[in-house]
């Protein structure tokens, strides 16, 4: 009977209920989008790293996991590393940022790189034929509507599209390394070196061996397995804190929306509260009704927020497929839901206590 009373109360003021649910849903969507984008970015980076097919990665000194800032690596290092025990192949690449933090281009030695990764899977067009050729992945090609044979502008210079590849290897844009080095004035340098070994079982020993070579100390040298495992939300500076702040905002918004909404509801239903009290309803019963309504509003807001996060993911994919990839992180539904419901219940506490303490005679005479 309590559930029926609560649901009928919510149905009786549909606009108030729907607006409350919408406003509660917005921070849920924000939380899920932020988490989804973080996880999507990480998963995408892991997938691209694994797609290269290397066993060991060397990055510039002072670089971070997600940024290649720092002193570049001399190209000669590629040949040096290729001569080390167990190393069967080495290739250096030069990664640059094209747009924001999410759209990067990578200069490669086509022959070396395709030998290491097994080649690109072309949707149309093919390998570099000219020094100014560029290969785009299908996401970026879809976003820019580029086709093989088109000319596009990247890094303030013109490039000729030679092929469209399936996404999942390295970055959205692949360029000939020599041309890229020349155009950005960074000749004879790379910023990542990938090594393939004779046997993946030798990876850890080889990493240890390389780190012990004089002159290589201080270079981050990872097995690819270790590098991809380090790519997680907890290893990205300030991201966990940022998510916590957004969650806090979610609680505050849920609290404020429900507090206002339920306070209005209590004012509108003063007479009905008087009726319930005249029937013998206790303070706990009245408080329970108000808290139950807040719970259902919080639940509705969570469900709507989840649905809106799917909408946001679809919108991002439709409008900017090569930007931040967003995934739906199911386990966060529970966190977002719990945060929202707690905020809603806290918000309903004051109106609920106000309603519970109404004098029945005054409430019954309320117009």
């Amino acid at each position: 009977m309590t559930a029926k009373l609560v649901l009928e109360n919510l149905k009786h003021r549909p606009m108030r209920s729907l607006l409350s649910i919408l406003l509660i849903g917005v921070p849920v969507t924000l939380i899920l989008c932020l988490v989804g984008l973080s996880h999507g970015f990480i998963e995408d980076s892991q997938k691209r790293a694994r797609g290269i097919g290397a066993d060991i990665l060397m990055r510039p000194k002072t670089s971070s996991l997600l940024s290649l800032n720092g002193a570049p690596i001399p190209s000669q290092m590629v040949g040096f590393l290729a001569r080390q025990p167990h190393v069967t192949m080495a290739t250096g690449v030069l990664s640059v940022t094209v747009e924001g933090v999410t759209l990067g281009a990578t200069g490669i030695n086509y022959q070396e790189f395709t030998r290491m990764c097994g080649g690109f899977n072309f949707r149309s067009g093919g390998a570099f034929q000219r020094p100014d050729d560029v290969i785009l992945d299908d996401y970026y090609a879809s976003q820019t509507k580029a086709q093989p044979g088109d000319t596009i502008t990247l890094l303030n210079t013109k490039w000729h599209v030679s092929g469209i590849m399936e996404s999942g290897k390295l970055s959205h844009i692949v360029l000939p390394i020599a041309t890229l080095q020349e155009r950005i004035g960074n000749q004879a340098n790379v910023n990542q070196i990938y090594l393939k070994l004779d046997d993946p079982a030798n990876t850890d020993a080889t990493v240890k061996y390389l780190l012990a070579i004089p002159g290589l100390e201080g270079y981050p040298i990872y097995s690819m397995e270790e590098f991809t495992s380090l790519l997680n939300v907890n290893n990205i500076p300030a991201l966990a804190g940022f998510i916590a702040v957004v969650m806090g905002i979610g609680v505050v918004i849920g609290f404020a929306v429900v507090c206002l909404s339920m306070y209005m509801a209590v004012l509108q239903r003063t007479r009905e509260i008087g009726i319930l009290k005249s029937l013998g309803a206790s303070k706990a019963f009245i408080l329970g009704i108000i808290l139950s309504e807040a719970f259902f509003l919080g639940l509705g807001g969570t469900i709507l927020g989840i649905l809106m996060s799917y909408g946001a993911a679809a919108l991002i994919h439709a409008l900017k497929p090569a930007s931040l990839p967003m995934v739906i992180v199911y386990e966060w539904w529970w966190y977002a839901g719990a945060i929202t419901v707690v905020g809603a219940l806290l918000g309903a506490l004051y109106p609920g206590l106000t309603a519970a303490s109404h004098d029945p005679i005054e409430a019954l005479s309320y117009e």
């Binding site: 009977m1 009290k277 029937l279 206790s282």
Partner: protein, 227 residues
């Protein structure tokens, strides 16, 4: 005082504080009501009859004096105790019907059962009461789809569904036309005569008051006449 009296009131006073001013609403009321009696209370506005109702119904505590309802001393009761008493000892019928607007008539009755601590579905015998009230085919409508008379009869059904010792009706015909007023008063009399329901009814209307077994007249917070 008689042991068969379901209501025993002695020297009842109630004073409201309005701002910094004490306003006496009841100034020493003595009243005994036997079980199964239909008592009408008549008096002008401000005579204290509603305050008397609110005290008997446990909606507000007395300032002084003794009030015993169905063997329970209200003057010694806490707020929680009076809340418990309202569940099953008294049933209210108001001038403005006071049905919950978002529930059907059936659910309005069920809420009272639920709050009263029993199964929300009334006993099968209650169907007979609903037929007596003439609302058994209107139970699935919400209050805004019912006439004033029908709403008041639903309110009466809700008031008696927990078999209260006393039915308190505060101007039950005040918002009704003549025809519906008569129907509601007939129902109250039937409940009293057929089921032995003790009823206290406030009214301004002497014709309505005549439906009761006896009438008390109130003025300025006192009972001035008993007929």
């Amino acid at each position: 005082m008689n042991n068969g009296d379901i209501i025993q009131i002695r020297d009842l006073c109630k004073t409201y504080r309005v701002g910094k001013v004490d306003v006496p609403a009841l100034r020493g009321v003595d009243l005994d009501v036997p079980k199964g009696h239909f008592l009408s209370i008549i008096g002008p506005s401000g005579s204290g009859k509603s305050t008397l109702f609110h005290i008997i119904g446990g909606l507000t505590p007395p300032t002084s004096g003794k009030v015993v309802v169905d063997g329970k001393d209200l003057s010694a009761m806490t707020d929680a105790g009076r809340t418990r008493m309202r569940k099953r000892t008294v049933g209210f019928v108001f001038q403005k019907f006071n049905l919950l607007p978002n529930l059907t008539a059936r659910d309005n009755i069920a809420v009272a059962r639920f709050i009263g601590g029993t199964d929300a579905k009334p006993e099968p015998e209650f169907e007979e009461v609903l037929r007596l009230l003439g609302i058994n085919d209107r139970l699935d409508h919400k209050p805004n789809a019912l006439s004033g008379g029908e709403q008041q009869r639903v309110a009466i059904a809700r008031a008696i569904v927990n078999h209260p010792a006393i039915l308190l009706a505060d101007e039950p015909t005040g918002n009704l036309d003549t025809e519906n007023s008569k129907a509601v008063l007939d129902v109250l009399r039937d409940l009293n005569q057929r089921l032995g329901q003790t009823i206290l009814m406030i009214t301004h209307n002497p014709e309505a008051a005549a439906y009761g077994n006896s009438t008390v007249h109130m003025r300025d917070g006192r009972i001035t006449e008993r007929t």
